[in-house]
């Protein structure tokens, strides 16, 4: 945990979020950006960045900020009176995703205590591709698309959380958070294609209050571990278990003593892999002649069950397995933190989506489950 004299990496994607106000679904790529400008969009990221950075400058922790030149961080950080070192200068013209990646790489190399970025899913993806799980990452929400789980709930909350983390507060802990992004080209055509790009280490805030009246409880990590162990223990011989992507299902694999792919779909029979990183076809083949169960987690900050990040588990796969053979595992905290009180399915097949709609049981801990609404 960072402490005295912490170092922060700050990356602002100045054009993040511009598309949203003018009916575009993102600002990835120069063509789209030009269109956004043409439609009258103006940068909002700087305002949002300011909300977060002000919280940081309030903090008592001495802070050194590594950032990009001008609007990619320097301006905001200097205005807030922070100790600034510019480590990347973007070429004249609009900031590109290459700038984000380049700056993030430098910050990772300098081992910043936290990389705070201002943007949306696209920015998150660029940051992740540059730093992996090398440094902790936290997003200030400023984008149009925010399916990733690395964002604070508001700019100021993100700033508050960053300040806590940098001050070494035990209230701020790290967890693995999904970085997801839609393919914007497809999205704008009203056709969805979201991918799970990976997991960043991202701080979150837990309350250290003394008056948690109910007495001792398990951390959500412990609950998930135990839920995963129970799912693993409940597996029956001869059945095929399809493990969806993500860290939750990886816990199930670990409970079986297996090491699953993080972003791919794996298949297990009798405690052994029969397929790793399968595509739809591979899954369907593995299913031949076997009773099949699907084990998935909830993906992203918006709560996707099927269709975003796990498209390999296609409508056909779900149809053949059947609704009653879907095991969903998630921490209660994650469900509560979702932006809506329901999970989304978008398998591309209206019939399967309709079949999945309604209440689904979610394993949340040892002998603990909840029923959660699913909407197409």
């Amino acid at each position: 945990m960072p402490a005295e004299g912490a170092t922060l990496g700050l990356i602002i994607n100045p054009v993040a979020g511009m598309g949203g106000s003018v009916g575009l679904k993102g600002t990835d790529g120069e063509d789209v950006l030009r269109e956004a400008w043409r439609r009258g969009a103006r940068p909002a990221a700087e305002d949002r960045a300011r909300g977060a950075v002000l919280r940081l400058s309030d903090s008592a922790t001495p802070l050194r900020v590594l950032t990009g030149s001008g609007e990619s961080g320097e301006d905001v950080a200097r205005t807030a009176g922070l100790d600034v070192e510019v480590v990347h200068r973007s070429a004249p013209g609009p900031t590109t995703s290459a700038d984000t990646r380049a700056a993030a790489e430098i910050m990772a190399a300098r081992s910043v205590d936290l990389l705070l970025f201002v943007g949306g899913d696209g920015t998150a993806r660029d940051v992740l591709s540059a730093v992996g799980d090398g440094v902790p990452v936290l997003g200030v929400p400023a984008g149009v698309k925010m399916h990733s789980a690395v964002f604070g709930t508001s700019p100021r909350n993100a700033g508050h959380l960053a300040a806590l983390f940098l001050a070494g507060s035990p209230a701020a802990r790290l967890r693995e958070a999904e970085v997801m992004d839609l393919d914007e080209a497809a999205f704008r055509g009203d056709r969805l294609s979201a991918r799970l790009y990976g997991y960043a280490r991202s701080p979150y805030e837990r309350h250290l209050s003394q008056n948690a009246k109910a007495g001792s409880g398990m951390s959500s990590e412990a609950s998930l571990d135990l839920a995963a162990r129970q799912v693993a223990a409940g597996m029956r011989p001869g059945r095929l278990y399809i493990l969806g992507p993500g860290t939750t299902t990886r816990r199930v694999a670990h409970a079986l003593g297996l090491s699953s792919t993080l972003l791919g779909v794996d298949a297990v029979v009798d405690g052994e892999f029969v397929g790793v990183d399968l595509d739809e076809q591979g899954i369907l083949e593995a299913m031949q002649g076997r009773e099949t169960w699907i084990v998935v987690g909830v993906l992203g900050g918006q709560g996707s069950l099927f269709g975003r990040g796990n498209q390999q588990i296609s409508a056909e796969v779900i149809r053949r397995a059947g609704r009653d053979r879907i095991i969903v595992v998630s921490s209660l905290e994650k469900l509560i933190a979702l932006e809506t009180a329901s999970l989304h399915v978008d398998t591309g097949d209206a019939e399967v989506d309709a079949m999945l709609a309604g209440f689904v049981r979610i394993e949340t801990g040892p002998n603990r489950s909840t029923l959660f609404k699913v909407e197409a």
């Binding site: 009246k213 001792s216 409880g217 571990d225 040892p366 002998n367």
Partner: protein
């Protein structure tokens, strides 16, 4: 008390105040504020109770009913068996009756600092008696402490059987069986009773060896046992338990620990017991309370179902406060189950016990243990001299012992009735609980019993069996 007279417990029961509050809200009537409750949920039948009593009438009414009780002050009492009559120093009562302690329990460490410190001192002083570094805030009774401890052991070992001494209070055993869940439940913990040696009352080690196996999560015994006997095979029992990979849980009456070895010293992993003897009155059974103690090690720390209170530095250098600890249990050592539950307990008795232990000090516990041992043995020997009366385990006990009346031709009920007529509460009847002991009763003699009391008992018994 007429209509619209304010009630002394309710400041806002003055009608004009209610009117003003309603006006502030902008509501016409109080009933309007209950609009969430559908009409068909509302009762049609108002509560039917006698009219409210004034304080003087109430006091008279209660005292009138309570006068039908007979107390251990008015009578000479030899009942123990889970609720023991010891001297409660007046200072203990003075301390616990302070209104200041009356808190929401979960106030902030700074504002409820004194109460937190008193709690910490309860744990810290009990820790010295049991010679262990970790003690939780009390649970509701010895039986609940034992039940929790057995479940802790089951989680720690991943096993689902426990070996429990048969010379145990049937009430406590019943609590334990509930905690171990009925056989139909998936996580049922099987209870195997380990017999006691009919000659000594000590645990039968052959029976223990036969009961313990690779499914045994814990071995549980008590010292002094329910039948009063000091278990002196602790080290051997520990060896058998540990060889099988089981936890050793020992139940103890802490008032004995000024003179008896702490169970941790002969291998106990988890120590449980009662706190009632430490400054708490009988309270008609409402004085019971229990504790759980272990070494301060991660393996155990994360299994506690109790509240734990830790000393901690404040943000002011060099200053200490106290706060609840380990609220959030991590996955360390947890198997497929959570940690049971916490709830209201007997935290007021923790403060009584803290005061008691501070008054006693090391020498107080040593003295009281010696006095109890000598008095109890003297009483047992005097009783044994009565014709037809026998003490079943005549040596190696602490404050309780089993008195058998088979030779008198009387049953315990008859004898106790006669004693009652003579102003004496005789020992607890064991004849149904332990039929093999015949017409037997469990007698309790403590520091409060004088030579004169013992002689009075002997005389009364002679009369009762004559």
């Amino acid at each position: 008390m007429g209509e619209n007279t304010a009630h002394p417990y309710m400041a806002n029961s003055v009608p004009t105040i209610q009117r003003e509050m309603l006006d502030a809200i902008g509501a016409d009537s109080i009933d309007q504020l209950f609009s969430q409750i559908p009409a068909d949920h509302r009762t049609e039948r108002p509560i039917d109770l006698p009219p409210a009593l004034s304080e003087s009438a109430l006091s008279r009414h209660l005292i009138g009913i309570l006068a039908k009780n007979r107390t251990v002050e008015q009578n000479l009492n030899f009942l123990g068996a889970g609720s023991w009559q010891h001297h409660v120093p007046a200072a203990c009562d003075e301390v616990v009756r302070r209104n200041e302690w009356l808190t929401s329990v979960f106030g902030e460490p700074s504002s409820d600092h004194g109460r937190n410190q008193a709690w910490f001192e309860f744990c810290s002083q009990l820790a010295e008696l049991v010679d262990l570094d970790m003690v939780g805030l009390p649970v509701r009774s010895w039986g609940t402490a034992a039940g929790y401890a057995l479940r802790m052991a089951s989680r720690l070992t991943g096993r689902n059987e426990v070996a429990v001494v048969r010379a145990i209070d049937p009430e406590r055993l019943s609590v334990i069986r509930n905690y171990c869940e009925p056989v139909e439940m998936a996580n049922h913990i099987g209870v195997r009773l380990v017999d006691y040696d009919p000659a000594t009352g000590l645990m039968n080690l052959d029976d223990l060896r036969a009961a313990v196996g690779d499914q045994t999560a814990a071995v549980y015994f008590e010292t002094p046992s329910y039948l009063g006997v000091i278990e002196n095979q602790g080290a051997a029992i520990a060896e058998i338990a540990h060889a099988a990979g089981a936890e050793l849980i020992v139940g103890v009456d802490p008032i004995s620990l000024g003179v008896l070895a702490a169970p941790a010293d002969y291998g106990a992993d988890i120590v449980v017991g009662t706190i009632q003897p430490l400054g708490v009155h009988l309270n008609t059974g409402g004085g019971v309370g229990g504790f759980i103690a272990t070494r301060d090690d991660e393996r155990y720390a994360h299994q506690y179902p109790t509240l734990l209170i830790s000393i901690a530095e404040t943000i002011e250098p060099g200053e200490y406060g106290f706060g609840l600890s380990l609220f959030e249990q991590t996955s360390y050592g947890l198997r497929d189950k959570g940690n049971d539950w916490t709830g209201h307990s007997v935290y007021m008795w923790a403060i009584a016990a803290a005061t008691y232990m501070a008054l006693m000090g090391p020498r107080g516990f040593e003295d009281i243990g010696g006095v109890i041992l000598q008095r109890a043995h003297h009483a047992a020997r005097q009783l044994a001299e009565i014709e037809g009366v026998r003490v079943i385990f005549p040596s190696g006990f602490f404050k309780e012992f089993v008195v058998n009346f088979d030779g008198t031709g009387r049953d315990v009920g008859e004898i106790n009735e006669s004693l009652r007529e003579q102003g004496i509460f005789g020992g607890k009847d064991l004849s149904r609980e332990f039929p093999e002991l015949g017409a037997s009763a469990l007698y309790c003699v403590t520091e409060i019993h004088t030579l004169n009391d013992i002689e009075r008992l002997v005389e009364a018994l002679r009369k009762a069996i004559a």
